[in-house]
Amino acid sequence: MADPLLETRGLHRFFGGLHAVKDVSVAVPRGAIKAIIGSNGAGKTTLFNLIAGTIRPQGGEVLFAGRPITAWKPHRVAALGIARTFQTTKLFPHMTVLENVVMGRHARARSGFLAGMLSLPRTWRESRLMEAKAREILDDLGLDDLAGQPASDLPFGRQRLVEFARALAMEPQLLLLDEPAAGLNIYETQELSRLILRIRDRGITCLIVEHNMPLVMTISDEVAVLDQGQKVAEGPPRTIQRDPEVIRIYLGDDHA
């Protein structure tokens, strides 16, 4: 197998006495869609936060394209080309949909404080480009008619989509999706599947934390299962479905 795009090796994280993430090693191959599943409290979002830099691991490493990025701050991780969405949508409530997505272009631009205050001509061009690209993405996701609306006014499903668009605006190599299907109805979930597959076809690698089994089984190339902070199974969806340990976790001992 070619070098994985993202790899964690033996990640550990404690919260007080709780060993939230215990010696977790996963690898995400380039261009793949990998899902991480497990019951609540299994450590999935913590794992995400460790990768994205929101919290520091107390052991182990994170490697991106072979490069160690362990404990890097979130903005540096983002600059590398790793985008993420959140379990509870974190849009900028007092900005419009367009402005939210334009924020996704932040890392691709340069102008700083001084250039901004003096309103130098190069900032105008940069602004125009940022906005154009943002509109492109909104178009792509069918959100162009909502561009001028305040983000907080949108219905839940649309807000999720805007957060998606914002993450895509970063033109990332790796997309971390934290429970993207949470709160979506059947139709919206199907739309989401199609979207994720489309993104993968453009060459963006995806790592998804999800509870929604049909979604996971349909679109994932690989699945890793966490239970109480540890990885208990990893492999293609079909294999995972039949893994006795996984069945025990989800359905109890009787069914194994």
Binding site: T54, H75, M103, E126
Partner: protein
């Protein structure tokens, strides 16, 4: 046309300023200009604070401290007599370069002090540097702890000013010379220069407004707003939140320093009364009532409230008025009274009874 709307405040403001001056001069009421000029310099602090609080979302209860550092630096450098060092080579060298100037004080004694222009630059640089050094540790603190830390900073500056001989202790520093920009144009409170100084102050304010408006609409400004509205999301998009907060902190301190230095030259003096907690609270209250993220509102309120205060309209209740304004704004509308107020919230507040 976007440009016109963006700078509308500045354009309207400029017209209003000129009209006001013409009217006041015609009525022979130019003495009002003094208070307006002073209010304008105070408003420089408010503009900077507005950027820090309304956009970057960081509270400072010690901005009077930066105002004072700017003012005192200017004052000390332009009044500290180096005449004793005349004859020392580098001192004479500085003098020939124009960095030091010789003049005579009120009593005819000879003085050798730093040139006001250089002192002005030094004031801004020193304040910015101090803001940077102080901001480094304290901007890592969360909301209310940051507020208390800035409060502590303001208090330290106050106590140091009160306790240090060089800074004039309780009397402050007086006999500060005018700041000469070039021949015929100087920052001073003297009568013949009144109209001139009115415009100098407003020029400074308008420059600050333009810089502020530019910043708000730039990539950096957007990043600031994103930090304020959802810091975690901003961080995940590549915004170096800590550095942006620090930069805004230093910038707002620089604005305050300019206001402080210019006002010191205008008044010819500065004292510890400029560094009290009440002053810092005042700036906060003005920012809040103008609309935290509303530069134009902050400016308007800054001029209005400071002018009324300087004219003595509030009498002995001066401090109480600002305290009351602060509470009222915080209770009724966190966005400030000059933003589209959340009338629903205000009405429900007034009608609401405490539920069990």
């Amino acid at each position: 046309m976007i440009l016109l709307r963006r700078y509308a405040v500045v354009l309207v403001g400029a017209v209003a300023v000129v009209l006001l001056q013409v009217v006041l001069s015609a009525w022979g009421a130019t003495y009002y200009m003094t208070q307006i000029t002073m209010s304008a310099y105070y408003s420089l602090v408010v503009i900077g604070l507005c950027l820090l609080m309304g956009y970057a979302g960081q509270v400072s209860l010690g901005h009077a401290g930066f105002f004072a550092i700017g003012g005192y630096t200017s004052a000390v450098l332009t009044t500290f007599n180096l005449i004793a060092f005349r004859g020392v080579p580098w001192v004479d060298g500085c003098r020939s370069l124009g960095l030091l100037v010789a003049r005579q004080d009120l009593y005819g004694a000879n003085l050798l002090t730093v040139s006001p222009l250089l002192a002005f630059l030094a004031a801004i640089l020193l304040t910015s540097l101090l803001a940077f050094l102080i901001g480094l540790p304290i901007l890592r603190l969360k909301g209310h702890y940051l507020a208390m830390a800035t409060l502590g900073f303001g208090l330290i500056v106050y106590r140091l000013a009160l306790g240090t001989a060089v800074l004039g202790q309780a009397d402050g520093i007086s006999n500060v010379p005018p700041l000469r920009i070039f021949e015929g144009l100087e920052v001073t409170g003297r009568q013949p220069f009144r109209v001139q100084n009115y415009y100098i102050a407003w020029a400074a304010v308008m420059a600050a407004m333009i810089l502020g408006i530019n910043l708000v609409h730039s990539r950096a400004g957007r990043a600031l707003r994103s930090i304020h509205q959802n810091e975690e999301a901003a961080h995940s998009l590549g915004v170096n939140t800590y550095r942006y907060k620090l930069s805004t902190f230093v910038l707002s301190a620089a604005f305050a320093a300019v206001g402080g230095a210019l006002l010191t030259h205008y008044n010819g003096s500065i004292g510890p009364s400029e560094i009290t907690v009440m002053k810092s609270v005042r700036y906060l209250a003005i920012c809040a009532v103008g609309g935290m993220a509303n530069l134009g509102g902050a400016l308007l309120m800054g001029i209005l409230l400071n002018f009324l205060s300087l004219r003595g309209v509030f009498g002995t209740y001066d401090d109480a008025v600002f305290g009351g304004i602060l509470i009222a704004v915080m209770l009724l509308s966190p966005q400030g009274l000059l933003r589209m107020p959340d009338w629903r919230e205000a009405r429900s507040f007034l009608c609401r009874r405490s539920h069990g």
